[in-house]
């Protein structure tokens, strides 16, 4: 019996080490890149949309002759949670030999991927995770194209102070704001940013509550809002809970004067499609999304890339009338990095060379409407969030001035309950 066991053990060990050792040699004709997104589990929806966006970006770059003459080969990985993300990052680095990883939607995944890739000199191009710690922890090869941390929240608060309070005929300090956010690291980051800004501007935060996305009845949350009777509800949600929050606000006659969503759910095209005309006048602050094409008019190549991407993506999603923001960001991250940064790098196999190219390059405009200007920490300081508003089921940008393509309407909301 013992003998058998030891044989079985040895066999198992050999098998696992075999699977771990099938490393491929580097090939100079192809550039291997990886993409890690949650394709199963709770974030599967946004994750698979991001993956599609990266695929489109890779195809586009390959059609244009690849990067420095090398064709790009994409290895995909599914990471529903941080441990799987670490495992998959290890696999992509060790077995697939990727030099660059695109990711990762969730900050938790991004952090655990960065812990793997940074040590090995593999670059992580992040276009989804917003946690501060990703660029504040001294990682050398992490580049984040989108805004960080609570920027979305604080931009939302700024807008409330500057534009909404005059429209409501109140002094900014008298505006009562309630924050409700979902309890993952995303909601927490954005809400922290908003709260900080509210305190800084000396505004009035009347309540802050968080909930879990799996909550089955939003009544308790909404009744808390009703009790506080805020002028503005600032809220961070994913899509399903965002819709239910609005439904329940209407049900309990608790709709505040201004509804300010911050990212993810409230910016999703499905949000307005589901709620219908009642969404007219809801604000959502996020990265710039679905910008009108004339923003890109000055840059023909970018113009074509963005319109090709939108067309290709929507061809796969007939049910949507616009590209979800997460996918647009994923595309921008992958496309910008492969199209603008990598060609400038001296040696694609040397991460330091890629890093200096990424840090030196300054772009006026990317597909997300802001530029590319990385700090030493790898954060794109050209990134900003803008204020959008739903009008007739479409996202209209109402601030900042240079991206603005419409005026804010419905302040206060006509469906407001008080």
């Amino acid at each position: 019996m013992k003998k058998f066991l030891s044989v079985a053990l040895a066999l198992a060990l050999i098998l696992t080490s075999l699977t771990a050792c099938t490393e491929e040699g580097s090939n100079n004709d192809v550039l291997k890149v990886g993409a890690i997104y949650p394709m199963s589990g709770t974030n599967a929806l946004l994750g698979s949309q991001c993956m599609e966006a990266v695929r489109i970006a890779v195809d586009m770059v390959n059609e244009n002759g690849g990067v420095q003459g090398r064709s790009v080969e994409l290895s995909e990985a599914d990471a529903p949670e941080p441990t799987a993300a670490a495992t998959e990052a290890n696999r992509l680095v060790d077995k697939e030999g990727v030099k660059i990883v695109f990711g990762s939607l969730a900050s938790g995944n991004a952090l655990s991927i960065a812990q793997v890739t940074d040590k090995r000199g593999v670059c992580l191009v992040e276009s989804g995770g917003i946690a501060d710690s990703l660029t504040d922890s001294g990682f050398k090869y992490v580049f984040r194209i989108l805004d960080k941390g609570g920027l979305r929240g604080s931009v939302g608060v700024d807008y409330i102070a500057e534009s909404i309070s005059p429209a409501l005929g109140k002094d900014a300090k008298d505006i009562e704001i309630a924050i409700v956010h979902e309890d993952s690291s995303y909601g927490e980051s954005v809400a922290n940013g908003a709260e900080k800004q509210i305190k800084k501007l000396g505004m009035n935060l009347v309540s802050r509550e968080h909930y879990n996305v799996s909550v089955t009845d939003m009544s308790a949350i909404v009744l808390n809002i009703k009790k506080a009777q805020p002028d503005v509800l600032l809220t961070v949600n994913y899509i399903d809970d965002a819709v239910r929050l609005v439904d329940t606000l209407k049900q309990h006659n608790a709709m505040p004067k201004v509804f300010m969503g911050c990212g993810a759910g409230t910016t999703d095209p499905k949000f307005a499609m589901t709620i219908g005309s009642d969404s007219d006048g809801f604000f959502c602050t996020d990265m710039p999304t679905n910008l009108p094409m004339d923003v890109f008019a000055g840059d023909e190549k970018l113009y074509n890339a963005v319109s090709d991407f939108r067309e290709a993506f929507l061809a796969q999603h007939k049910e949507l009338n616009a590209v979800p923001i997460a996918a647009e960001a994923a595309f921008t991250g992958a496309y910008t990095f492969m199209n603008d940064i990598l060609p400038k790098a001296g040696d694609l196999d040397d991460p330091d060379s890629i890093r200096s190219a990424a840090l030196e390059e300054k772009l006026e405009l990317t597909a997300l409407g802001f530029g590319w200007d990385l700090g030493e920490d790898g954060q794109n300081y050209a990134a900003f969030a803008n204020i959008n508003q739903w009008q007739n089921g479409k996202v209209v940008t109402v601030a900042p001035e240079k991206l603005k393509n419409g005026q804010a309407i419905n302040v206060p909301l006509p469906i407001s309950s008080y």
Binding site: A8, L9, M39, P82, A86, K95, Q115, S137
Partner: protein, 292 residues
């Protein structure tokens, strides 16, 4: 990673496997270990080696309280109470931002060194995980031969009968539950140091608890080497499946579920005992051949 999962599955097996009472909340102990280590190290610079022990001690205390309250419950009630307990702890980790950093999680700083339990390569982690696995399995082997092990099995099979024979069932169970919790917590500490980032929605998730169970069951419930066999087959298979067909999301989960069903339907006691039986048969046949 495989070593680590083996160790974790074996830790779970230590109580639930031998006693036949499922705990679906063991991820709570994984979380306690992971958090204790990560927080002490990241906030106070206390070596993870000490963090592991602190986590173990904390888990022991929690296991004593929880075990004391719930172990006397009957099968189904016990199973559900373990889920509830894990959920409460998860809520605590999310809500007590001052202590745990809330849902933003804890990022462990990267400063390689033995005292920091951080290395640039994977090998040292593998060695630690391997050592951890060996220790837990050794403990299981020892358990099988010890009084505690016999008592535990007896209690699992028939509590009243065991009590009539003079076995103090609640003490036996509590002891095993405690050891199992502490081992799980050690595993959690190692996992935290390996991934270098933890967040409550993951380390305390029910998915993790289910994973321990799956590995232990597939290999063989209540056997020292079962979790080993289960992990060495299933962990690589999962990773390969997830790696090979990332675009078919759900495939690996589907297959794991199927494996669980098939194992339970046809081999109620897992792969290892099935293999044993097969080998024994072969041997007997071989012997018979020689005789004839």
């Amino acid at each position: 990673m495989t070593f680590l999962w083996t160790g974790l599955a074996a830790s779970w097996n230590f109580y639930s496997g031998y006693c036949g009472r499922l705990s679906i909340g063991h991820a709570a102990f994984l979380g306690i270990g992971a958090y204790a280590t990560a927080l002490l190290y990241a906030n106070y610079g206390i070596s993870p080696w000490i963090g592991i022990l602190v986590g173990g001690a904390l888990s022991a205390i929690v296991a004593l309280i929880i075990g004391g309250a719930t172990l006397r419950l009957q099968g189904t009630f016990f199973v559900l109470s373990t889920i509830a307990f894990a959920k409460i702890l998860e809520t605590f980790a999310i809500t007590a931002k001052g202590i745990t950093g809330g849902s933003l999680g804890v990022l462990i700083p990267y400063t390689p060194g033995f005292l920091n339990m951080t290395w640039s390569g994977k090998l040292p982690y593998a060695i630690i995980a391997w050592a951890y696995m060996i220790i837990v399995i050794a403990a299981c082997v020892k358990l099988e031969k010890s009084k505690l092990g016999y008592f535990l099995k007896a209690v699992g099979e028939n509590k009243e009968a065991a009590e009539n024979l003079g076995v103090n069932s609640s003490r036996t169970m509590l002891k095993a539950f405690l050891i199992s919790a502490v081992f799980t917590s050690f595993g959690g500490s190692i996992m935290a140091m390996y991934v270098m980032y933890i967040e409550p929605s993951f380390v305390m998730s029910m998915g993790n608890s289910v994973q321990f169970i799956l590995l232990a069951i597939a290999g063989g419930l209540g056997t020292a080497f079962g979790p080993l066999v289960g992990s060495f087959i299933l962990v690589p298979v999962t990773n390969i499946l997830r790696g090979s067909f990332p675009s078919i999301s759900g495939l690996h989960g589907l297959l794991l579920g199927l494996i669980l069903i098939v194992v339970l339907l046809y081999r109620t006691n897992g792969i290892l005992p099935a293999l044993r039986e097969f080998v024994d048969n072969q041997r007997r046949r071989a012997k018979n051949d020689i005789k004839s």
